[in-house]
Symmetry: D2
Subunit: 315 residues, 4 copies
C-alpha cells in the first residue's frame, strides 16, 4: 500500500556561482535586500528577513555563472538517514560531508542531469542582534525594508537534458509531480518540456526546463517570495529605478502554478525571480496537470512565451 | 531516532450545525460566495472555487450552533491505516464509517475534549460543469466572483477545556505545535490559553482556545482564505453592505500566525473568519513560539483582546 | 495676468455606438458590472456604482463602433454660459440642445477633428432604490460586486488627424496639457503622436492619439477606474474566465500618466480600459512632460509598444 | 449666477512646531522616509518623493508642538491677487510677505480660529540630483524606498473652537464643503463637530474638528498619502518595528471620506496620518453629506470613536 516517504522537508538554500562576487553581493544586499549573514573563503552568505536559518543563498566566486549546489532540509533525523539510503539505491548518491556555515553533516547527491545537491538535518537557527530584533516573537528579525525585501526563498528552476528522467528521480525520493509541459500534452510520448515538483505545499520547490544547450546541471533561476502582488509591482519600479532591467518584461501571472512574477538578471549573470500569489497545493494526489506548449502555461494573460515551437528556451 | 509519522495530509472539511439551515446556506452561498455542491438529508454541502474535492463545508440542521465534525485527508492509503492504529492506541478512536457525499470509508475519533473528527483517503475529485470550467486547467473551476469568493478553507479553531491535553494529543498524531498562548509564557506551569498546530505549511490547520463555559467539544470559528489582504478589505465592506456586522471590528493582523482577518457570525450563530497573509511554516522544528497573554498575540497593531486577564474569552 | 477659466468641471459621460446593442449592454452589465440606469430609443444607459449622476455611459445602436458624443459637466451655471461663448469664439460651437436622460440643457460643440461633445450644468442626482442603498451615506449605492465593478469613469482617449490642433483647442478652453508624445521630443517641430490633458486632478480626462486611418472623430478607448492595482489583476482573470481576451496582453503600467491597466474589446468593437494607480496632478503648471516615442511611454516595464516607428498605431 | 472663484489650487505645505527638532527631523527622514530638502534658521524642510515643489513640510523648533502655518498654491497669478482681495474683504487678511525657501511672495491670513496661512504663486520646481533622478520623466525623483516613503502630502486637519465659522470662511474663499459631522445631523442647529472641505478632487484638503481645550489655532494631524492600502498595511508593521506606536490602533477605513489610515505621533508630539484609498470628488456640487456622531463616521467598520457623546475629542 502506497506511502509517501517524506524524506525531504523543504528547500533550505541555493549556492550560485558568480564571476563578479562583490557586484553580485551588492545586488542581493541592496537591490534585493537580503541580509548578509556570513563570509567564508570566496563565498558570501545571505538570508531573507523572514527565514529562520543561517542562510538561503550562498554566492561563490567562479568563472561561469550557474548553480553551485542545492541544500534541502530533511524532515527529521531518521528521514535524513533513510533519504541517504534511498538515493544511494537510485544510484545518485555521492556521500556524506561535514557541513557548511549554518548547517551540519549533509548527504551529497546529484540529479540525473548532474545538479549537485545535499540534504541535512542539523541547522543553526538564526538569532537576530538587538538592533534587528522584531517586536513579534515569531519573526526571526524585523523587516529591514531595504530594496525589495523578500520574506523567504521560494523555489529553484533548473535546466535538464532529460526532464523525464529528472522528474522521475525526484518522484522516487518523495516529491509530488504537480504540473508539467509537453509539446502536446494529449499525445503519449510527446517531448517533455518542463516539470514542477514539490515536497511542501508550495506550487513547486523545484522545476526542470528542457535545456537549450546540452550542458549538464544547468540553472534557470532562483525565486524569492514577497507576500502580495502589490509588492511585486512596487519591486518592478524599484528594479528599474536602480539601473536594472526586467529580463522578460513587466510582472505577469504564470498560468502554470499561478505565481505573479518578474525576472531580473543579477550582475554575475544568474536569473532571479520575484514571486507572490502562487496557489498552494494540499491534496497529496494533486495533479499532475499537463499543459501543451501552445496553451502558454508561462503567461495566463497572453504574453509571448520564452520557448520556441520546439520547446527550446529562447529567453 | 525521531521521525514524523505524516498520517494526516490536510484539513478537508468541517461540518457545522445550524438552527437556521436555509438562512445559513443562503449566507454561505451569496454573502461568502461558496458553491453549493450537494444536499442530503438535512445537510447542505459547499466548496470554495479553488478546492478540488466535493466539499469543504457541510451545514446540518440542529438545535444549537456548533461543530458537527472535522474531516481530515490522510497522507496516503497506508497512512490512513496507521493513523487509525495510533489513534486507537491513544484511546481516542471510535471506529470506521462508510463515508459521506464526496468521500469514502473514514476512521472516526474524538479529540480529548470531545470534538468529533474523521480521517479518510478516498475522495471524489470535483469536475466542473461546462459553464463553470476554468480556462486554466489547474483551477477546478472559474472564480465565480460572487460575494467574498474565498479560494479555499484555511483552518478551524475550537474551544477546549484542557488546551494542554488537546494540544498533546494532536502532537501525538503528527501535528507540529507552532505557537501558543499562556497567561505568562515565561513561567513554567502557567495556564495554557491557546495552541496553534499544523500538518501542512499553513501557520495552523487547527487551533484550541481555552473554553469559557465548560461545555465539551466547543467551536470558535472556521476560516476561509482569499489571496490578498486587499481582498479582505473589499470583503469587509461587502459584509456590512449586505446587512451583517464584523464580529470584532474591522480587519486587522494577528500577531500570532500573522493572518490578516475579520470575523462575521453567520445567521445560524457560527463564527466565520476570512484570512489572508498568514506566514507559512517550513521548518519541521519551527517554534513553538510561546506568547504571554499581555503581549496581545491576537492583534499585532494594538487593538483590545478577546480575552480577559484570566484568559477567559469575552468576545 | 493669466487666469484659468475653469469652464469645465469633469468628464460626466461618454456615448458609444455599437452594432450589437444587446451584446454590448450584456457585456457592460455583467462582465464589467455597471448598473443599467435607463433605456430610451435605441440607447441603453449605465452608471458605475460610485457615480452620483444618472449615467456615465450611453450605448446607442449604430452601424459602426465608435464615439457617439462626450458629455462634460460645467463648473457652475455661469461657467456653462462662459464656455459656450468661448467655444463659439473658437469656431467649434454647434449650439444648445435640450438635454438627455439624466441631464438638462447642454451646449454642443466639436473638437477640431470632429468629435461631438457637450457641456451642461443641470444633472439628475442618482437616488438608489432601497435594495441598493449603501450603509454609508457618501456612497450613491452599495458596490454590487458584480463583474469587475469599477467605481467610476476615468477618461476617454480619442484618435485625431491633427493632435496639435486638438490639443491646442482643449488648452484654449481651460484644459491643462500634462504630457505628450513626439517622434523626437527634443526636436522642435517633431510630429506630435499623442497628448494627455485634464481639467481635474486626474492624470488625464481626455487624450488624443495620432489617427492611423484618416477618419475624423476617431475613438480609441473609454476608461473606468477601480481603486487598487490588485483589483485590476483580479479583473484580468475575470475577463478571460468569461470568454474575452485582453486586447494588448496582461496588466502593465503606463510610463506616461502611470496608470496600471489592461484593455478589452467589448462585443460591439469598442475598446475598454480598466485603470488604477495613475498619479494625480495638483500643480496648475504641471508639465507638460514630453516623451519621445522610443522612450516607450506606453509601458514603464518594457513591453512592446502599440505604435510603429513612425508613430502609427498598430494595435 | 453662481461661479466658483478658484483662488486656491491645492495644499502646498505645512509648517509644524516641534520641541525636539532633530528627533522630529530624524523621524520624518528615516521612519516616514521624506527627503530633507533644506535647512534655514531653526527649521528643516522636507518633501515627499513624488512632489514637484521644494517642500511640503517645514519643521521649526519651538516650545510647544502644533501648527506653524499652512501654505496654499494659488490657481494662477491673477487668482493670487483676487484671493488677497477677497480674504481682506472677509476680514481675515494679514498682508504680503516675501516668501520662504522654495516659494516667492505670499499673502498671509488667518482662519477665524486663528490658524496662520498663506497663499502664493511663485514656486521653485524641484530638480533631482543625478543620483536621485527617475528613469521616468514625469517623476520628480525616484522613490527612495526608505521608511514608509509616501508619495505626497494629502491634507491637514485642525482644531477649531467654532467649526461652523471656520467652515463658512473656507466656503467663502472657494472651498467645497464635502462632508460634516453634527451631534444630530437631522436636527437643525445641532452642534457642528467637524467639517471636511476641498479645492481639489481630493476628499478633503483641510478639515476642522471641534476643539477640546479652547485654545485657538489648534492642530490635529497632517496626512501623507501612499498609493495602495497594502502599503498602509506594510507601513503599520514598519512603524511598530521601529519603536513607535499606532496612535489609535491598526489601520482602518474612515466612513467619512473613505481613507484607509493610521495615526502615529512623531517625537515632537504632532500627529501624522498615513492614507490611501480615499474617494475622489468630481461633482462641483457634491454633498455635503452630513453625519450624526452616533453613525461613527470615523470608522466604517465599527471601531470605537475618538469622540465622546458630546463630540469632544478624547483620543
Amino acid at each position: 500500500m502506497y506511502k509517501n516517504p517524506h524524506y525531504f522537508s523543504h528547500l533550505a538554500h541555493v549556492e550560485l556561482i558568480s564571476p563578479k562576487l562583490e557586484e553580485s553581493a551588492e545586488f542581493f544586499k541592496n537591490i534585493i535586500g537580503l541580509e548578509e549573514s556570513g563570509r567564508q573563503g570566496n563565498s558570501v552568505y545571505f538570508r531573507a528577513w523572514g527565514e529562520h536559518y543561517h542562510h538561503s543563498l550562498k554566492i561563490t566566486e567562479g568563472t561561469e555563472p550557474g548553480l553551485g549546489h542545492i541544500g534541502w532540509r530533511a524532515d527529521s533525523p531518521a528521514a535524513l538517514e533513510e533519504a541517504a539510503v534511498q538515493i544511494e539505491k537510485l544510484g545518485q548518491g555521492i556521500g556524506w560531508i561535514e557541513g557548511d556555515l549554518g548547517h551540519g553533516r549533509a548527504y551529497q547527491f546529484t540529479s540525473p542531469d548532474g545538479h549537485l545537491e545535499e540534504i541535512f538535518w542539523d541547522v543553526e537557527v538564526y538569532e537576530a542582534p538587538a538592533t534587528l530584533q522584531s517586536k513579534w516573537k515569531n519573526r526571526p528579525q524585523k523587516n529591514p525594508g531595504r530594496g525589495i525585501s523578500p520574506r523567504r526563498i521560494d523555489h529553484i528552476t533548473l535546466h535538464s537534458n532529460d526532464v523525464t528522467k529528472d522528474r522521475e528521480f525526484y518522484q522516487n525520493i518523495g516529491f509530488r509531480y504537480n504540473e508539467g509541459i509537453f509539446l502536446d500534452a494529449n499525445e503519449p510520448g510527446s517531448p517533455e518540456i518542463g516539470a514542477w515538483l514539490s515536497v511542501t505545499n508550495l506550487s513547486h520547490d523545484i522545476a526542470f526546463l528542457k535545456s537549450h544547450n546540452g550542458k549538464p546541471g544547468g540553472f534557470n533561476h532562483v525565486c524569492y517570495a514577497v507576500e502580495s502582488r502589490e509588492e511585486v509591482l512596487l519591486a518592478a519600479d524599484h528594479i528599474i529605478e536602480n539601473g536594472y532591467e526586467l529580463a522578460m518584461g513587466g510582472p505577469t501571472r504564470h498560468a502554470l502554478a499561478e505565481g505573479f512574477f518578474f525576472y531580473v538578471d543579477e550582475p554575475g549573470g544568474n536569473r532571479f525571480e520575484l514571486y507572490a500569489g502562487a496557489h498552494l497545493v494540499f491534496a497529496p494526489d494533486f495533479g499532475p496537470y499537463r499543459w501543451s506548449l501552445p496553451e502558454n502555461p508561462n503567461d495566463a494573460w497572453g504574453r509571448e512565451m520564452p520557448w520556441d515551437k520546439s520547446g527550446k528556451i529562447i529567453k
